[in-house]
Amino acid sequence: MYLARVIGRVVATTRSTGLDGVAMQWIQPLDETGEAMGDPLVAAAAISSGPGDLVHFVDGREGALACPETFVPVDAAITGYVEEAAIGAVDLAALEEA
C-alpha cells in the first residue's frame, strides 16, 4: 500500500461489467515527506473519498479484491482514508494539498 492524495474524479459511464457503481478517482502517490512520488493514476474507490483527501491505496491484483465485485479489471484501489500520518515531526494529513 502507498499513501496518496486524491486530486480528481474520473467519470466513465460506459465501462466493463462488474464496475457499475464503483467510483474512479485520480490520485497522486506521495512519499514520506508528502511530495509527489511517481505519476498520478486512476484508482477505484473502495471507500468513500473525494478530492483533497489523504488516502492509502493498494496496487496490482489486490485492487480488484477491494471492489464489491472482485473479478474485475482494476489494478489500483483506494483502501482507506488517512486521518493521521505522523512521519518524523510532520503529520501529512494536516498538510495542505500540494
Partner: protein, 101 residues
C-alpha cells in the same frame, strides 16, 4: 521480501474491513547499511514494530492474505519480521543491539 525502516505511523478509521484493528506503519525500503532505496509505502504491522525499527517486509498479495487469514483480502504489504542484524559478505552491515545501546 525486503528490508525497510519504519519512518512513521498511519491512522485510518474509514477503510476496507480487513484492515480494521490492524496497525499501519510507513515504511522506507533501505539497503542493509541503511541507505534509502525504492518507494516509501504503508504496511500492516504484525510484529509490534515501532518508528526507527529495521524490519522485514513482504509486498505480495498471496502471502499477505495468508498472514491475515482471508483468501479474498485486498492486502499486500505486511511487516513480517524485526531485524536483529544483517551480515553482508562476512561483515556486519546492521546491528540492532548496537543501535539501541
Amino acid at each position: 521480501m525486503f528490508l525497510a525502516e519504519v519512518v512513521g505511523t498511519v491512522v485510518s478509521t474509514v477503510q476496507i474491513r480487513i484492515l480494521d484493528g490492524e496497525k499501519l506503519l510507513a515504511l522506507r525500503p533501505v539497503t542493509p547499511d541503511g541507505r534509502p532505496t525504492g518507494k516509501t509505502r504503508i504496511g500492516i504491522d504484525r510484529v509490534q514494530a515501532g518508528v526507527g525499527d529495521r524490519v522485514l517486509v513482504i509486498d505480495e498479495g498471496s502471502s499477505a492474505r495468508q498472514i491475515l487469514g482471508d483468501p479474498k483480502g485486498a492486502v499486500k504489504t505486511v511487516i513480517v519480521g524485526l531485524v536483529d542484524y544483517v551480515e553482508v559478505r562476512g561483515k556486519l552491515a546492521y546491528d540492532h543491539t548496537e543501535r539501541t545501546s
